[in-house]
Structure formats: C-alpha cells, structure tokens
C-alpha cells in the first residue's frame, strides 16, 4: 500500500458511521450474512428451476411437445423463399445499410440523430456527428425510440365512441365544425398540444390562431422549464433560455439541477463538461462541480462537493450564497440583498467556500438552477451570474422564436374553461393529460364537460379512452416535420419508413387540417416553411439539408442585464421561511424517470428494463428516502405504503437511498400507467396522483402510512458483483480502491502514475506459451472514468445493436438481465452524503481469457485480432465460462426470450447479428459485426482501414466520448494514445488476464478548504 492509499485510509477512518470508505449499496453496508451469501452466488438460489410450479405433468407435457416438434422438423428440408422486388428502389442495395439524418424532440429539447436503415426499415439510432462539436452521442431515449416505432400496441386506426374508424371519417366530422368555428372565430374551440420546437408547427399554429382568434391554445408537458422561463421573464423582461458553455467554466455550482441527467440539453452539458476533465498531463487543469440537491441525482457521480438540502431550503441557500458573495466584496444591489433572507440550513462554511471559489473565477464560473426550483431562484441565479461577469462567457441567453414551451398555468386555465362549459370542442395533439396533468385539475373530470374531445396520439392511452375521437399519430420516424435548436440551428425530421399502419396522421398534418380544413402533405408543409425560413432554398440546398439533417445558422447569444429591482420583487419572504420538516411533515420531490421520462416511454421494454442510473431499479419506481427517514417512519425497502399529501393518496413502495436529505422523499414520475400497452401497463406506481399545480416539483406535507404489503423490486445494484469473493475475504475497503482507481488532481500532479500503483504488481508469469498478438489489427478499448457520467447510453445502444432480449421483471430479480455492458455503481464515504462512482463494465476481451480455458467445447475462443469470441452454435450451456469470468460479464439465455417477439418488434432486430436461443451464453463482442463490415468495406474500396472507420455501438452513443475503441497495433490510433496515458490501468490487471479494455483513473478536484 503506498502513501496515497494510507492517506485515503486515514480519511476513511475519520468518516462518520462505520467508517467505510467504499460500499456497494445500503444492503452491502449493513453486511448481513444473507446479503453476503446472495452476492457470492452468481444467481439467487433456485433460479435454475424452469418454473416454480414444475411438476411431473408439466415436465411430461413439455418433453412430449418438444419431442413431437423435433420429430416433425427432421422430416423435410426447410424450404426458404427468395422474394425479390418487382421494381427495385434506386437507393437500396440489399444487405447494405443506409443512414439518414433526422431529429427527435422531447418537448423543446432536440436530439439530432442518425438512423441506420436496412432494406427500408430503421434498425439503429445514433447521434448525428455533423452537429456542433461532433454531436452528443445518442441518448437512451433516442436509441430506444426504434422500439417505439415497432411497438405492436401503437394505435393502428382511429377510434370514435369505442368503435374503430378512420382518419378519413374524422375529416368528415371536422368539416362542419371547421365551418362553424371559422364563422364564429373559434369560440368554444380549444387546442392543447405538447411543447414543440418546430418552425412548421409554429407557422401552422399561427394560422390556427388567425383562423380561430377566439380559440384557446395551450401547450403542456408535465416535465418542463416553465418556472425557469418565468424567472428569466421577471429578470430580463423576456422568457429567455440560458445556453451554457461548460467548456469555459472552471467552477460550476448546480442548485437542484440534474445537469447531466434529465435536465434540458443534458447530453450537450455532459459533453462540454467532460471535455474539461480529459486530463492528459500534470499541467492540465480541470473544472470543479459543486452540487446542492435534496436527493441523489445522476449528476452526483461527477460532483466534487455535494451538499444535501431539502428542495424547499435551496432558495435560502441561494440567498446565503448571495450574502457570502456580498460579504466577500461583490457589489450586490441592496434591494436584492435585503429581500433575500439567507437560510440557516445550508452549511455556512460550504457556501462561503463556493462563494470564494466563484469570486476567484469571475467570468469562468457558472451557477445553474434546476427546473424544479422556484422562478425566484432562477431570477436570483441570473443576477448572480451577471454580477460575477459570467454572462457572455459561460452563459448566454437565447429566445426561441420557433418553440412553444409548456405552460402548466395555461393548462389550469383551460381546465377551468372546460369545467365552466366554455369549451365545446377540445383537440389534444400528443400528450396524455388524463394521466399526467396535475391531480388537482382533475382533467378527466373536466373532459366530461366538453362536447367533442379529439385526441391524437401514438397509443390508445388513458386520454384516448376518455375522448370521443382518437386519431393515430405517426411516429417521428415515419413523418415529416422540422425542429429548431436553442442555438438557432434548424433541423429536419424526415420519414425513414412508410407508415407501418395505413390509417394515421402526423402532428403537422393534423395542425394543417384543423386550421385549413383540408388535408395537406407533411413534406409540402415543411418545404413551404423552409422556403420562407431560408432564403434561396433551391432543390440542391434542400437535398443538402435532407442529407445533413440540419442547417447550421449562427445566432449570437444575447447578454441581457437583469433588472435588480425586478429580481428583488420576486423574492417572497415565504420562500426563505419554509415550514420545518419532520417524519409527519415530509418534503416530496418529483423527478422524471431517466428511463421512461414522464411516462411516454412506458411501453418500451428496453427502457423499462434500463436500470435507473441512480436507483438501479428496473420496471419500477419507488419512494426514495434515506435510511434515517425510513427508520423514523418504521419502514424498510419494499414496504408498500400509502403516501398522502393534501388529501390525495397513492400507494408506493419504499426504497432507501443514501444521500437524501432527512425527511425528503423523491418520487419518480412516469410509472403506474393503466393503458400504456402490454409492457408498460401496471409497471410501478403513479406519482402524478400526488402532484398538484401548486407543488409541481416539490411540496411539503407528505405523510406515509403504515406498510400494508410488500412489493418485490428488481434492483440490479447487487447483481454481477465484481470480485466479490476476494472482497468478502479481504474487505471491500482494501479491494475497491484497486478496482475503481481514483485520486485528486493534486495527487495526480504530484504522482502521475498513481493509478498504476494502486495494486502491487508481482512479476507476471504465464504457465504456458503465450500467443503473440503483434500482427495485423488488434482491437482494444479505453474507458475514461473521468468523463463517464453513468448515463447508460451505451447499455441501450448495445441492446439495439446486438439484439439483446428484454427478460422481464421476474427474470431481472433472478439476476438474469442480459445487458452486455452494465454500469457498476459504487458509493464512497459518508453514508448520509456519499460520493457516487460509476464504471461501465462489458467483456474486457482478456488476451489470457479465463473463460476460454474452462469451456469444454471451445465455444468461446480467441481470434487472431484479439477478440474473445462466442460461437453460439457450439455452446452447450455449461456456464463454466461465466463462473470463471472475474468480471461477471457473461450472460446466459435461460429461456428462449425472443420466441414470442411480435412480428413488428422483429423488424427492429439487427440483421447482422445472430439472435440467440435458449441455453446459449452471450456477451460483448466488441461489435464484431461492425469490425468485419468495416474491414470488408475498406478492402472493397481498396484503401487501408483507418482509425475511426469502425466504432462500437457504445462508443458511438457515448455523449462524452469516454469510450474509445480502435486498433492498439496502430501507433496513430486514438486508443493507442489513450492507453499511453498515465491514468490508464487494467481492471484486475494483477491477475495477468491482459484485458483489452482498460480504464483511465478518475480524478477529483476538491476545494482544499472543504477537504
């Protein structure tokens, strides 16, 4: 153990509680014998049983059936047909992929994506690299939207009064209404849509308003930035959006902002933030992140200092910061200073240290408030950034002329009109307000007072069922539209596939129909907008836009000066004197799910099974609270309780999480859908039932009843434990720092090789002649732990690329999830306020692979390019390899998971990758299909293969470029350069496995004052 380790251990012993520095989960910390036994087993006891209720009779039935089938299939040679085109589409070459650029939107947030299509069907989505700074990889939501396209539960025809109908029939219904409302100016007509950032929708909506001036037009999304925009409206007089530039920010303070998780532009933030963490030499600098939040967020994984504070105390903390800045000599306007009462809850030393750091980095610092905070906090933050001279440097502001933002207050007004009988006809375009509108509005009840309700959506969901008309909306991969980003770039949304279902209408087509009375074609509508928007848009330029997917326009950011008096007027005293919290007066915070967002992705199997980066729960949400709060309430993990606030009630299971503020409960939105479809219906519990207009993001007064049942949860945190036996033997404290290697920037500067010396490396001797891997291509990978944000984009991209099955909640509980790349998450330090460490682990492709030595049938072997390959058809399912794999990255098909895949979902499969059958082991292949394709393409073109020609799916999707793949035999490749860095280390390198994947150690940049 070296000096640094000694220091760490000393620090560990001074930590509170048990003094454990590293731990896996709260269950691990408790360290019960049951837990030890559970992690030591690869799978929970009894999981090898096929069915819990297997008896002799079921066994005979199954055996009999399989014998009969086996007998039948051997009778004749299977006859396969070749069905060529009648007339071949010009651009399609069978067997080769085509890529199209398009855009996906979430509210007004734009994802510029590149979609791979095979034989006319989209099969994979990744980021558009033509975007500014090389794009932002592919968000899990973007990657998984492929599955949404092929969702068999998508609505396939119009419905009226519970009877199937067609869009054509709807046009017949609309025509008389159109005539009526054009004559009366739209009195009695209301229109509710999701927020959008589409120039065409903006144009058509203007047309709608012109045609029906008296109509009510509202936009609503349950997760939105309305309070931030309101705050900026107060400070600047206009509802501007901030645009952050993390590449120039040295010090960042995030106030209840999940900057790299679910906030607006999270992946762009992550990419720019991580760019300042690519420390390559001791002379490099690194940014520093302070985080104040009520519950553990994904952003906590990157925080250098984290303060846990109830959401209701964050205005007080912001005021405290303002006072600390003023005390250190910042000229804060007196009106604001006197109106902002510093809260006493926030650690004064902590706040002062942040103030000092921000002042020392004027113009290179940045303060960000999260969307859940009050408008006053946003106004105050805008003022602080202006006073610190950060505006124009790390933050600028932009008005989005082509976007309509969500406005929950307007939704409340609309429901009021509906209830008052002022709305005769309501059109709901997208969205699911019956499910996700604030509970106090009782949107479903208000719908009953409206004569004709028309809902257009991709699914026949909760809202569709409550409306008189339902129209099937096109998926974005089969419709035309456009987008505008907050930096002013324009983007195109173009169809990749003919609509899967004949009956349907796209959102802009519906808008055009409503406002013009006659159907129009999406492409013509978009083209008409762009001809106005971009001067000189000829055919050639248009084709260029379709090719690139975007049209770059440089719109300079604004640097408005906030009005101090206006900011002061927003600071209501009540903000700074929140009621005291207690076990009977809890604070509740609502957060969107990193998996299913606000519930719109609830029927997506990939996302349901995607482990929440924070809780590691799949298929469920829960009331998250810390152990102390749970103990005070007499609750434990999995207890089902009734949560109630201001007379509203919902059942919710309890899940303890370290890092929460005391008496704070976080509820994840998006679950508990009743009409989501076969995947999403019934998964989790509906937190919207507690969410009211007055407390959209957090509120006080939550109470929890006594547990009335137990809910089983599928949490993957303790699955596939790395090196658990040795951890149990030697203690996790000694072992984990050797697995997850980290140090401070200071430590690194003094001792650049610290990562390599965390483990004492004995001379490595092999017991046999080693194979030399020095010829041709030799594939390898590096993962920079300093850039990884633990978002899981790699997991979903890999699932899409490699046809990885969804196994379901019960299977996940048995430890059978199939993800080839998982994100290991460790906690470090204080149990009340831990640090979070994340580490993506897939097959490491060891040159001396232990799995290969125990396979009795040579189903796993090495190829000449250093890949550890699986030959599925040789595998007989002994699972010895998985047992012998120290990284626990091998996944076994316990069942034939793909047998009952609906026909449409099969269309989402990658035709280049074998679909595995029951009884077969599988694992990361470094995307061997892409390697072979890349090599063949280079050979076909007669050129040498160059670095970057072959990218694995995980690498391509990574927003921060933490994953680098390439040829380690090529001295000029990026991966060779990464592996030469001093932070590079091999996970379990001391076993002489020679993994081809190596990691770059994590660095922290703590403020010396806070230690």
């Amino acid at each position: 153990m070296n000096r640094n380790m000694d220091d760490e251990m000393k620090h560990a012993s001074t930590a509170t509680n048990a003094g454990k520095k590293y731990w896996l989960s709260l269950r691990d910390r408790a360290g019960t014998p049951e837990y030890r036994e559970m992690v030591a087993r690869e799978f929970p006891e009894g999981t090898a049983e096929l069915f819990a209720t297997m008896n002799r009779r079921t066994f005979m039935t199954l055996m009999g059936a399989s014998m009969a089938l086996a007998g039948l299939t051997s009778c004749r040679r299977p006859e396969e047909e070749i069905v060529p085109y009648v007339s071949r589409p010009e651009e399609i070459t069978l067997g080769n992929a085509l890529r199209y650029a398009t855009s996906m939107t979430l509210g007004t947030d734009v994802h510029s994506v590149l979609v791979t299509a095979r034989e006319g069907r989209p099969v994979h989505i990744t980021g558009n690299t033509l975007e500014q700074r090389g794009g932002t990889g592919a968000h899990p939501w973007a990657s998984a939207s492929i599955l949404d396209l092929y969702d068999p539960d998508r609505s396939q025809h119009a419905v009226t009064g519970g009877v199937p109908s067609t869009v054509q029939d709807f046009i017949g219904t609309w025509t008389p209404l159109f005539t009526k409302y054009t004559q009366n100016g739209g009195t009695g007509l209301a229109f509710l849509m999701r927020p959008h950032a589409s120039p065409t929708a903006t144009r058509l909506l203007d047309g709608f308003r012109a045609a029906f001036p008296a109509a009510v037009v509202t936009t609503y999304d349950p997760v939105c930035d309305a309070r931030m925009l309101e705050g900026h409206h107060r400070a600047f007089g206009r509802a501007l959006r901030p645009v952050y530039d993390f590449t120039v920010a040295d010090v960042v303070l995030a106030l209840d902002a999940d900057l790299f998780g679910t906030e607006y532009g999270a992946f762009e933030h992550a990419r720019d933030f991580a760019a300042r963490r690519r420390v390559t030499s001791p002379t490099d600098t690194m940014n520093r992140l302070y985080l104040v939040e009520p519950g553990l967020s994904q952003t906590a994984a990157l925080a250098d200092h984290r303060l846990r504070l109830p959401a209701s105390r964050i205005p007080g903390a912001t005021a405290a910061l303002l006072h600390a800045l003023a005390a250190r000599g910042l000229a804060v306007p007196a009106a604001v200073l006197s109106a902002a009462t510093a809260g006493a809850d926030a650690d004064a030393t902590w706040i002062d240290a942040v103030a000092e750091d921000l002042l020392a980095h004027r113009g290179r610092g940045l303060v960000v408030a999260g969307r859940g905070q009050d408008s006053a906090v946003h106004a105050l933050v805008a003022l602080i950034n202006a006073l610190l001279g950060n505006v124009g440097q790390t933050v600028g502001y932009a008005a989005q002329p082509y976007a309509a933002e969500s406005d929950p207050a307007a939704l409340a007004d609309l429901t009021m009109y509906m209830r008052a009988g002022k709305v005769e006809t309501l059109v709901i375009l997208g969205g699911n307000p019956v499910y996700d509108a604030p509970a106090d509005l009782d949107f479903r009840g208000a719908l009953a007072s409206v004569g004709t309700t028309i809902h257009a959506g991709t699914h026949h969901d909760e809202t569709a069922r409550a409306c008189t008309w339902h129209l099937p909306l096109r998926h974005y991969l089969e419709a035309w539209s456009d987008v505008s980003s907050m930096r002013g770039h324009l983007g195109i949304v173009q169809p990749l596939i003919e609509p899967l279902y004949a009956d349907g209408i796209s959102d802009i087509e519906l808008l055009a129909l409503l406002s013009g009375g006659a159907p129009a074609k999406g492409r013509d509508l978009v083209k008409a907008t762009w001809q106005q928007l971009v001067p000189g848009m000829d055919d050639r330029a248009w084709r260029g836009v379709l090719h690139d997917g975007l049209f770059p326009r440089a719109i300079p950011l604004e640097t408005p000066v906030p009005d101090a008096n206006a900011v002061a007027s927003t600071l209501r005293p009540a903000l700074f004197t929140p009621p005291a919290l207690s076990a009977t007066n809890l604070e509740v915070t609502f957060r969107p799910s990193p998996a299913v967002f606000d519930g719109r992705f609830a029927n997506n199997g990939w996302l349901q099974e995607f482990p929440d980066p924070v809780t590691k729960l799949t298929w469920d949400n829960a009331a998250l609270m810390n152990r102390r709060t749970a103990a005070a309430l007499g609750l434990k993990d999995g207890d089902l309780v009734r949560l109630s606030i201001s007379g509203r009630e919902t059942p919710m299971p309890v899940w303890t999480m370290p890092g929460h503020a005391d008496h704070c409960v976080t509820l994840t939105l998006g679950y508990g859908r009743t009409n989501a479809g076969r995947v999403g219906t019934g998964a989790g519990f509906n937190a919207y039932r507690l969410r009211t207009s007055m407390a959209m993001d957090h509120g006080i007064g939550l109470t929890a009843g006594a547990p009335f049942a137990t809910h089983e949860m599928a949490c993957v945190q303790d699955h596939h434990g790395l090196d658990v036996e040795r951890m149990a033997r030697e203690g996790i404290q000694e072992r984990l720092p050797q697995l997850y290697r980290e140090g401070t920037l200071e430590e690194y500067r003094a001792h650049p090789d610290f990562a390599k010396e965390r483990v004492e490396m004995l001379p490595l001797v092999s017991s046999w002649d080693e194979h030399r891997y020095d010829q041709g291509h030799q594939w390898g990978m590096t993962i920079d732990l300093n850039a990884c944000i633990g978002c899981g984009a790699c997991t979903i991209a890999c699932q899409s690329e490699n046809n990885i099955p969804v196994v379901g909640k019960r299977m996940v509980m048995n430890g059978r999830e199939m993800h080839w790349i998982r994100i290991d998450r460790y906690y470090t330090g204080d149990v009340d306020n831990p640090g979070v460490r994340v580490m993506p682990v897939g097959c490491q492709h060891c040159e001396m692979a232990p799995c290969e030595q125990v396979c009795p049938v040579a189903a796993t072997s090495h190829d000449e390019e250093g890949l550890n390959v699986m030959t599925y058809n040789r595998c007989i399912g002994t699972r010895y390899c998985s047992n012998n794999c120290p990284y626990k990255v091998r996944r076994f098909n316990f069942h034939n998971y793909t047998a009952d895949l609906p026909e449409t979902v099969r269309m989402a499969q990658n035709p280049d990758v074998s679909v595995r059958f029951r009884g077969v082991m599988e694992k990361c292949t470094y995307c061997t299909q892409r390697i072979e394709r890349g090599k063949i393409a280079a050979k076909r073109d007669g050129r040498p293969l160059k670095d970057g020609d072959i990218m694995t799916a995980c690498e391509q999707s990574c927003p921060t470029h933490a994953i680098v793949f390439g040829d380690i035999n090529d001295p000029a490749s990026r991966v060779t350069a990464e592996k030469a860095r001093d932070r590079d280390y091999a996970l379990l390198g001391e076993f002489n496995l020679r993994p081809r994947t190596t990691f770059l150690a994590r660095l922290r940049n703590p403020n010396p004052r806070l230690g």
């Binding site: 047909e81 060529p84 070459t93 067997g95 190829d863 599925y872 058809n873 990758v913 074998s914 076909r940």
Partner: protein
C-alpha cells in the same frame, strides 16, 4: 467334465468383436457420408415458379452474372433480380411465352415472384459476396458452372468444412479480377505464382477463426 462349447467356437469371440467393429465403422462411415451436406444437399434442385435457364442466358446468350445479380460486388448478398430486370428484355422478347406468364403477372400486378432458395448458409454464418469477389474468388468456385445448368442446382456442399478447405488454402480458387464471372475458367500452369502474387497484392488472409463468419 465335458466342454460346454465345441472347439470350433473358440474363434467366435474374436470374429464377433471383429465384425462388430467393422459394423460400427461401417455405420459411422455411412452416417459420415450419407449425413454430410455433400450427399444430402448437393444436387438440390427445387421446382421454381419459372424454369429459368442459366444455360440459355449465360451459356448461350453470354449475359454477365452482374447484369442481374447487381449486389454481388458491393454487398454481402448478390441479389436475385427484380421483375423489372427480366422485363427489360422480355417486354419484347418472348413476350407471349406461356412459361413467362408468372413474370408478366408479377409485373402487371406488382406482386413479387417467389423463388425457392437453393444456396443457403445457416443464419449464424455470415457470407459476404463482395469480400470474395474483390480478391478474385470466382462465382464458379461456390456455384459451379451455371452456364451448363438448365436449371440451377446446388453444386457444392456449402458446409463449414468445405468453406474452411478454401480458407486454409485458397490458391487454386484465385483468378484475375476480370475473370471472376467467367464460367469454365481453367487455372493456368503458373497458378501457384499467380496466387502468390494475388495474395500479396490484395493482402489475402482468409480468416479461420470463428469471428470471421459467425457474429
């Protein structure tokens, strides 16, 4: 005590063992041969919707393979031609032939023809036509001399062992790139030198490890 077995039985156990052994070997050899794709698959010639004659089109009229199989140089799959390709000529040639009725029907109604697949490697094996053509492996090496086939049948076993034979020693199957589609091509006397030059020029190292074909 009298002997139970007469003397002539003495050699019986040996004979039984020997004939048993021979029988076992015969059975193995039988399965080996009769169960192999060489026996079971080669010669497979299902009835097609149109009795299309490669002998006529390639052998006598001299059409190049790539006139119809357009994907073969750029894609993993060679591509069976769309109806349109046939109609390029048959809109005027043999326009009334009863044998071509399914073709005309396909063209008029826009319904595809449904051919029966003959050349098939298992789903878990990925074969790439373009990779083979690019380095001078001719069509004939796997498909046989289709110019002499009235109707196409499976000429080679397409088994893994057969693939590997060539991957281990491709010399005999490498041709000049302009002879790729030639049927009945004969290697010259200097084939060995030529193959060595090809291998050097195109960096030919046929993969023998699993990942070369199985993904």
């Amino acid at each position: 005590m009298a002997q139970i077995f007469p003397e002539r039985v003495n050699k019986l156990p040996g004979r039984i063992a020997l004939s048993g052994g021979i029988l076992v070997m015969l059975v193995i050899a039988g399965i080996w041969y009769y169960g192999s794709p060489e026996y079971t698959d080669v010669g497979y010639m299902p009835a097609q919707p149109i009795p299309y004659s490669h002998k006529l089109h390639v052998g006598e009229l001299g059409l190049d393979c790539r006139y119809c199989h357009t994907g073969v140089e750029v894609s993993p799959v060679a591509m069976v031609p769309p109806t349109q390709t046939c109609m390029n000529c048959h809109v005027s040639i043999k326009a009334d032939s009863p044998k071509l009725a399914p073709l005309r029907e396909s063209w008029e109604k826009g319904t595809p023809l449904r051919w029966i697949r003959i050349h098939k490697v298992p789903d878990y094996a990925s074969f790439d036509h373009s990779a083979h053509l690019r380095v001078g492996v001719g069509c004939e090496s796997c498909h046989g001399n289709v110019a002499e086939m009235e109707e196409v049948f499976l000429a080679k076993p397409l088994s893994m062992g057969w693939c590997l034979d060539c991957h281990r020693d491709p010399d005999a199957h490498l041709r000049p790139l302009d002879q790729i589609t030639t049927m009945g091509w004969q290697p010259p006397a200097t084939q060995n030198e030529f193959a060595a030059a090809m291998k050097a020029k195109y960096d030919i190292q046929p993969p023998e490890t699993c990942s070369g074909c199985h993904r």
